[in-house]
Symmetry: C2
């Protein structure tokens, strides 16, 4: 029956690759949990292992990229659902300072390293820009699984990540403008203005609008109205945010925050959303790992460059982010500093834009790619370390979170 | 900032099309619920409206096809979770008879219509084969949303759908063999034997194995162990089932059944799984609607052919399926008959195989495609009609299901 099989085997191979991704992620998560290491690190390494670098069982593809994007979108949506707007506004000043210093330090470091290496001006600007962005998904995942998303430092990190994204956009628009020779200050100002306008307006009004609409949502006839409205709002704001120049995950986070008060008591809606997140997040983590290209290390000079850039990325973000939280305890400053370290998919995107514009060389691209994945692997153990006392001290009573709920509760399911 | 935007606008357009699919599905579901019509019909029609036939806002794509496949896989997995193997075995004989008669009647009707029209032998065999398969996802969705999956008739339908799929495979392997001139009885016997072996072995042993493994699953360190193991088993059996010649949804259903006892009390695992299903099912339903090509109706003779085939498909499945349940009450026979009517994606796949082998003409392909979508639209109101008394009589106490849970409960979320 060759014909029938031919028609369905292609289907089977897609399903098989999805199975391999989830299986590898969960096996590695289990191993890392047993070693008392963060599960996310295991899941990212799963991507390195089954990806082109090592076994080559699964190749990066458009489909996997979309599932990965949906994974991080739902992750931030779920985190938003646990975060009321006033929680973020209350730490607004601190978050702004954390974001600004956490952007300036890495940018200067990246620029200087690239110039000293052998880079030209535009190239060095791009390397600096790639070191700026924070991938808040990783930190949110780790803190969520520890049940610590309601800590003040977690909120500072979330707020700073939103501002960080806007600052990253401004830097990228300046750098891209210089790269294409089309830089003009009014264009950059317009880009920045739109992004800030979108974020502030949705952040300020979203929750009020959704809380007012809640009784109407409750009267809808469609099944699971809050869950469905939540998904629609999440997709809508993700799409709109891209058109305003902000990352899709920022829109998803704002969508979650807008619904945080209206669905506070709605355990079921949170569970349903959490199911989607749990299913999709492994694609996000594995996909990061699959981006790592170990073959660049045949060239030993790239190893040095990658190591230097990675070290600079970790230290400058830790110091910059930490100093921004001046006035808090030293431990809290450290918690915020490490929380800002992961660059993940955001750093990769910036590097890809530079490569697409042919303004950065293959060696800088490879080094930045390595830095993006490496910071994402280095940060979770540091986060776990600096937050470990909080967890022991406050216990699970303090846990309101459901990205991963407290570990005790999450054991079920 | 044209470069940055160009890089993300493609992303935005993918997210936008996913948003449009969910939004259209939910708006139509709401409208149909208000008209007291089945929501699934609204969601399929949403696909007709936003698809190439009418507005052309969203085009069928590989990505949407994969999401649709995942949707029906999770749907059957969720239904399996609510179905213990003995529930199916207990109605095994009835289900077999329902499947056999529900296959013979439509096959003969399709064959005769095609021969009388102007079809050649192989072509007529293919049209017959396309009328055979039942798309159990639609029926499961409707019964699930009414909270009636634990009815005996629902179990007969589920059991019959599994057997139906194997019978469909055998017929398709015979027909394809004839089409390619490579027909041999031993090949068909081997195909059939493997499919039956797989289904029976997994059906018999799956639940015992998973119930025995349950304490070990409970001891895993990974978060949400039952949910994650469930997803892995679902994907694994979906893939393996394809290699055994059975549809992926049969593997997913068997995976759910294997876990039904072990997770019976695990409300949280069911909620998490239900979240994934709820998110993905609209893609399955909308994708069916998007397949409809209304432009074929420029040729009036195709209209007649499509109408005749659709009518035959409805009547023969209703009578064949119903007669198979001989010995039950007339209402129960009708319930089973209507439950077998939807052809959905299965009929479409058979027609596509025939088209791919160049053994069926465009007019028959168009008519079968129409029949597949039309039966899927016609069945839900009939199912709702024939089951309406059960729902009123027994009330929600009878509801254990969570595909959509009882409507009262499902209102939350």
């Amino acid at each position: 029956m060759p014909v029938v099989l031919a028609a369905s085997v292609e289907h089977a191979s897609v399903l098989l690759s999805l199975f391999l991704i989830i299986a590898a992620a969960k096996v590695m998560a289990e191993i890392f949990e047993r070693l008392r290491q963060p599960a996310v690190v295991g899941e990212i390494l799963a991507g390195v292992v089954i990806g082109p670098s090592v076994l080559g069982w699964v190749q990066p593809s458009d489909l996997i990229a979309v599932l990965a994007e949906l994974g991080v979108i739902f992750l931030l949506f779920t985190v938003g659902l646990e975060t009321k707007p006033q929680d973020i506004f209350r730490v607004g000043k601190k978050a702004t300072l954390v974001a600004v210093l956490g952007v300036i330090f890495p940018f200067i470091a990246g620029y200087l390293i690239a110039m000293l290496w052998d880079g030209v001006f535009v190239e060095a600007m791009f390397v600096g820009a790639a070191l700026v962005a924070t991938s808040v998904g990783i930190t949110a995942r780790v803190l969520g699984s520890m049940g610590l998303l309601d800590k003040e430092t977690a909120r500072v990190i979330l707020g700073a990540a939103v501002i960080d994204d806007i600052l990253g956009l401004i830097i990228l628009s300046v750098v891209s403008g210089i790269g294409t020779g089309g830089f003009n200050i009014s264009g950059v100002a317009k880009t920045a203005g739109l992004a800030i306008l979108f974020t502030v307006v949705v952040g300020l009004l979203g929750s009020r609008v959704m809380t007012r609409l809640a009784p109407r949502i409750d009267r809808l006839r469609v099944n699971k109205p809050f869950f469905n409205i939540g998904i629609l709002l999440c997709f809508a704001l993700s799409v709109v945010s891209i058109y305003f120049g902000v990352a899709a995950i920022i829109g998803a986070f704002l969508a979650g925050m807008a619904l945080a008060e209206a669905t506070e008591e709605n355990e079921k809606m949170h569970q349903l959303t959490s199911g989607v997140t749990e299913f999709l997040v492994p694609f996000f983590l594995v996909n990061i790992g699959m981006q790592l290209d170990l073959s660049v290390f045949r060239d030993s000079s790239v190893i040095v460059l990658a190591a230097v850039i990675t070290l600079a990325a970790v230290i400058t973000k830790f110091i910059g982010g930490g100093l921004g939280a001046w006035g808090m305890t030293r431990r809290e400053m450290s918690q915020i500093g490490v929380g800002m370290i992961p660059r993940g998919e955001v750093g990769i995107v910036v590097a890809q834009i530079g490569l697409g514009m042919a303004v950065i060389s293959q060696q800088f691209f490879a080094a930045v790619l390595f830095m993006a994945v490496a910071t994402t692997l280095i940060a979770p153990p540091l986060i776990k370390f600096f937050y470990s006392e909080d967890k022991n001290k406050d216990g699970i009573d303090d846990v309101i979170v459901d990205t991963d709920v407290s570990e005790d509760y999450a054991r079920l399911g």
